[in-house]
């Protein structure tokens, strides 16, 4: 029997506001334990929460950017449970009246087709603190509580179970991350935990309408782990069902070291969170004027930018997709393409060598030694025939290593392309004279030998000869 996976993702996004969601404490990462705390986020007796308006604004931005309906009336609720990293004994979250509902995210599949993944809801909530266990600090049998993160604002973004494969899940999260980065609402750093994702995974026989029993998979802090964990989970459930067993509803943790998901049964029993409306925060209304103002402040989003790149720069869909996947890359491209005669050449370089450097050096394109202006200048040198494509590679590496301008590199290293036919002719003559056999086989109709001659000439000129000129001269002389 053939099975189909049904996947929904719950994504937690840490918002990069200056202060926490319900108090004035800093959200800065990396402060000494409990440095960023006050009576409110410590859960002292008598304290009250006050909503940080910047959190609401960012939540509305995300809602609008994903096509959600912004709730006219919304409220906070308490989610009650005991844990030492939860100072009040409840988390202030949103239960049945989230700020935004019913949006969608469009992904592009491998075959180029578009697929729409529905968004169930977007809601605001506070993060918990974290526990540090004694083996690393203080008494080995004790645990220590750091509440710096307690009260840091989060958005929970819940997708519909519209995702059908690990690949789609990865694309969904990539697109969501791109949107969040474009909105500049979060730094989306998965390793630091500012973008976290849980997956609800189930399988069903292909063609069946009803959903199978789902497992919730947690602890995937990279795109690769998300994909691997879902792939593992689909395979695991398929095996369970194929062997006549039944999938049970449970929470499973992804263990990246062993590349498996492990049941948390016993550790996290079904909680009764006893949600009820947060009496300290009255029901509130986001006015139409407010929503309109936030909408007007939205930047150009990935899909719009992609369409504009296709139109304005005459780029293929694929190029536009890759370039706009990250706002930083898109900005880099646009800067480099300013006034460029052929944006497609710029696009090739950005998608190729620039993205390679970004990945190798784990940095933003804007931080590379190769500035967009330098890249543009290098392409101009190619257009002018000053350097060949092959030399450009050398120039690029030199720019990437030293940050020197391309013209300076060309001048310093004497990389200017040889277009002077007489010096090339001299080299060609030498090579023809030294290789009578090859000349004979060319004349016998073996055209491929021409390539061999070109290679010889290029080697002799250390790559500086213009390949076009070399070709021309070789054809002339060999046919003579």
């Amino acid at each position: 029997m053939e099975f189909e996976a049904v996947i929904g993702l719950e994504t937690h996004v840490q918002l990069s506001t200056k202060s926490k969601i319900f108090c004035g404490c800093s959200t800065a990462f990396g402060a000494p334990p409990n440095a960023n705390t006050c009576p409110v986020c410590l859960g002292m007796p008598g304290v009250l929460p006050v909503l940080n308006e910047d959190v609401l604004r960012r939540a509305v931005m995300v809602g609008l950017a994903t096509g959600c309906r912004i709730a006219e009336r919304t409220k906070f609720d308490r989610k009650n449970y005991f844990y030492p990293d939860l100072p009040k004994g409840y988390q202030i979250s949103q239960y049945d009246m989230p700020i935004a509902t019913g949006g969608a995210i469009t992904i592009t599949l491998a075959d180029g087709a578009e697929k729409v993944i529905g968004l169930t809801r977007v809601h605001m909530e506070e993060d918990a603190g974290k526990l540090i266990h004694g083996e690393n600090l203080g008494h080995p049998d004790s645990s220590y509580v750091d509440l710096n993160r307690a009260g840091v604002p989060l958005l929970e973004i819940v997708s519909e179970p519209d995702i059908r494969s690990a690949e789609e899940a990865k694309k969904y999260l990539e697109k969501l991350k791109a949107i969040l980065e474009y909105l500049d609402v979060s730094d989306c750093n998965m390793e630091e935990g500012s973008l976290r994702c849980d997956a609800n995974v189930s399988i069903r026989p292909k063609g069946q309408k009803e959903f199978g029993t789902r497992a919730e998979v947690k602890n995937m802090n990279s795109f690769r782990f998300l994909q691997r964990a879902i792939e593992f989970e689909i395979a695991r459930q398929t095996q369970v069902v194929t062997e006549g067993g039944r999938v049970i509803q449970e929470t499973r943790l992804y263990d990246s070291a062993r590349d498996v998901t492990v049941s948390m049964r016993g550790k996290e029993e079904a909680h009764d969170y006893r949600y009820f409306p947060e009496p300290d925060l009255p029901l509130f209304t986001a006015s139409q004027e407010y929503i309109a103002a936030v909408r007007a402040s939205l930047p150009e989003l990935p899909d719009d930018k992609r369409r504009r790149f296709e139109r304005d720069y005459s780029l293929p869909r694929y190029d536009a997709e890759v370039l706009t996947a990250s706002r930083a890359v898109a900005d880099y491209f646009e800067e480099a393409a300013k006034g460029a005669a052929n944006p497609k050449i710029i696009s090739n370089w950005v998608m190729g060598d620039i993205l390679r450097l970004v990945k190798e050096r784990n940095t933003a394109p804007q931080s590379l030694p190769v500035t967009p202006a330098m890249l543009r200048e290098m392409v101009t040198l190619m257009d002018e025939g000053v350097i060949s494509g092959k030399i450009a590679k050398t120039v690029f590496e030199e720019m990437a290593n030293t940050g020197k301008a391309p013209r300076a590199i060309v001048a310093e290293q004497g990389l200017t392309q040889i277009t002077d036919t007489s010096s090339i002719e001299a080299e060609v003559d030498k090579i023809i004279a030294a290789n009578p056999d090859q000349v004979a086989s060319f004349k016998a109709g073996k055209d491929k030998v021409l390539g061999w001659f070109v290679g010889q000439v290029m080697r002799a000129t250390k790559g500086k000869a213009s390949p076009d000129v070399v070709n021309e001269i070789l054809k002339q002389k060999l046919s003579a």
């Binding site: 002292m44 304290v47 006050v50 009650n80 006893r274």
Partner: protein, 486 residues
């Protein structure tokens, strides 16, 4: 100098203004009186003699520089549910027995700025849960009128301290009657303001949607003065009302001529003791004599108040009290064990029986499968109860009822019978459920010489009118003239 302690806030401020007495003298007089009398009354959990004397000297030096103010140098008692920075704030609980407040409540900050002197923190039912102050980890407070009787609760310490002249005035908190009922039983004035009138920041939460801070004083003018000091918008409390604060002493003497007073018939039924009924009849006559128009009205959903309250208040309390887990501050069971065991032992040993009863009740009504039948239904009934009041206030300006169905009862009488105890607040709970203001003013005494209070209830933000109506009864009944013999 015991006469000094009997002064009202405005009388004392007058003497301070005239230089007839200093705050240092007044504060010392109160501290001496507390030292000699409070062993038998137990109205204070913490007396801050050193801090009070320092504040008194500061107030005197501010006055010497020409500063004036109705509370400058006036010694007050603060209910232990309100945080005052640097002072122990126990909430009447073992859980917070050694908890030193790290910040000032909005209201204590206001009093500090006004130059009031904090004598100490007054006794209360643990976490404000109770109607007799018998649920305090620090022992019961006794009613100054009869030391074998309860002072009411949960602000019993504040009420007793005012009645026994152990402070010039005090602050209490009221979730279901905790200011008004003890005020009635101790013969003092107690005002629960409109929900949102006074910031709850720094008031240790019992039931967040019902809690309000308010004054407990020797007369209505003092209540107006204290309310002037503590009322107002606070950005740190999202439920705080951004409404202008009038001067509540203005118009206090304007009387009730033409005021439409409603008597809700549901409040005058069975269960009310004869002396209380008689005192209320006399109160109605006083109002009529003063020109008020008295008529009967109906609040048909009154009978649902107790069950509604005892679903909603415990529900919120079960969540509000979750923070007392032994992890961060307060009591932690020394018996060790793992995390779950630490939680269980800490909360088992740190909370008293009534608090645990309400946490369990509240946890139950919020539980999956019961939420709709209890919590949600109670919220709907709460809306109906509020609707009753809004409808009544279309017919009349103010409502009158007894504050408590009976005068003070003997210590121990109801402490093991929670259901009977819960009925003590039957006259006052509705006001909190509706969010409206209510005031209790002494209107007479029982045959046995115990104080009886009358309660006025008015529309949102009608505190000025309530004070004015209460002032008429205060003057006409002369009940304030009688003092407990100590």
């Amino acid at each position: 100098m015991s006469g000094l302690c009997a002064l009202t806030i405005h009388e004392l401020a007058d003497k301070l203004d005239k230089g007839e007495v200093t705050s240092e003298q007044a504060t010392r007089a109160y501290l001496n009186r507390i030292a000699s009398l409070d062993k038998s009354i137990n109205s204070y959990i913490t007396v801050d003699a050193g801090g009070a004397m320092t504040q008194a000297r500061e107030a005197d030096s501010r006055r010497a520089k020409g500063e004036r103010g109705p509370l400058l140098g006036v010694p007050l008692g603060i209910k232990d549910v309100l945080l005052a920075k640097g002072l122990r704030s126990t909430c009447g609980s073992k859980m917070l027995e050694n908890f030193i407040a790290p910040y000032d409540a909005f209201v204590t900050g206001k009093l500090r700025a006004a130059g009031a002197v904090t004598l100490g923190k007054t006794n209360m039912d643990e976490f404000a849960m109770g109607s007799s102050t018998e649920n305090s980890h620090f022992g019961s407070t006794k009613n100054p009128w009869d030391l074998t009787r309860i002072p009411g609760g949960s602000s019993g310490g504040s009420a007793a301290a005012v009645a026994a002249d152990l402070c010039a005035g005090s602050l209490g908190s009221d979730t279901g009657g905790s200011i008004r009922q003890p005020a009635s039983l101790c013969g003092v004035v107690g005002l629960k303001p409109t929900y949102g009138r006074v910031s709850r920041f720094g008031l240790v939460a019992f039931a967040s949607s019902l809690d309000q801070v308010g004054p407990m004083t020797k007369d209505t003018r003092d209540a107006a003065i204290l309310l002037n000091a503590i009322a107002g918008y606070d950005a740190a409390d999202s439920t705080s009302a951004n409404q202008p604060v009038p001067d509540y002493t203005q118009g206090l003497e304007d009387g009730v001529k033409g005021l439409r007073v409603g008597l809700p018939k549901e409040y005058f039924g069975a269960g009310m003791d004869d002396d209380t009924a008689a005192a209320l009849r006399a109160t109605v006559d006083m109002l009529k004599d003063a020109g008020a128009l008295v008529s009967e009205v109906s609040l048909p959903n009154t009978r649902y108040a107790v069950p509604t309250y005892y679903v909603l208040a415990p529900a919120e309390a079960s969540s509000n009290l979750a923070r007392y887990d032994g992890v961060k501050y307060g009591f932690r069971s020394p018996d060790g064990g793992g995390l779950l065991e630490m939680y269980q032992r800490t909360r088992h040993d740190g909370f008293g029986a009534e608090v645990k009863r309400r946490i369990m009740l509240g946890t139950y009504v919020l539980s999956s499968g019961y939420y709709d039948a209890y919590y949600l239904k109670a919220q709907k009934v709460r809306t109906l109860i509020r609707g009753d009041f809004l409808a009544a206030f279309k017919q009349v300006d103010v409502l009158l009822s007894p504050t408590s169905p009976t005068p003070a009862f003997p210590l121990g009488e109801k402490v093991d019978d929670p259901l009977t105890m819960y009925l003590c607040d039957i006259m006052t709970l509705n006001v909190n459920l509706a969010g409206i203001p209510g005031i209790s003013v002494p209107c007479g005494h029982s045959a046995g010489g115990l104080p009886i209070g009358a309660q006025f209830m008015g529309p949102f933000f009608s505190e000025g009118m309530l004070l004015r109506a209460a002032r008429v009864i205060e003057r006409a009944s002369g009940a304030m003239a009688r003092k407990p013999s100590l």
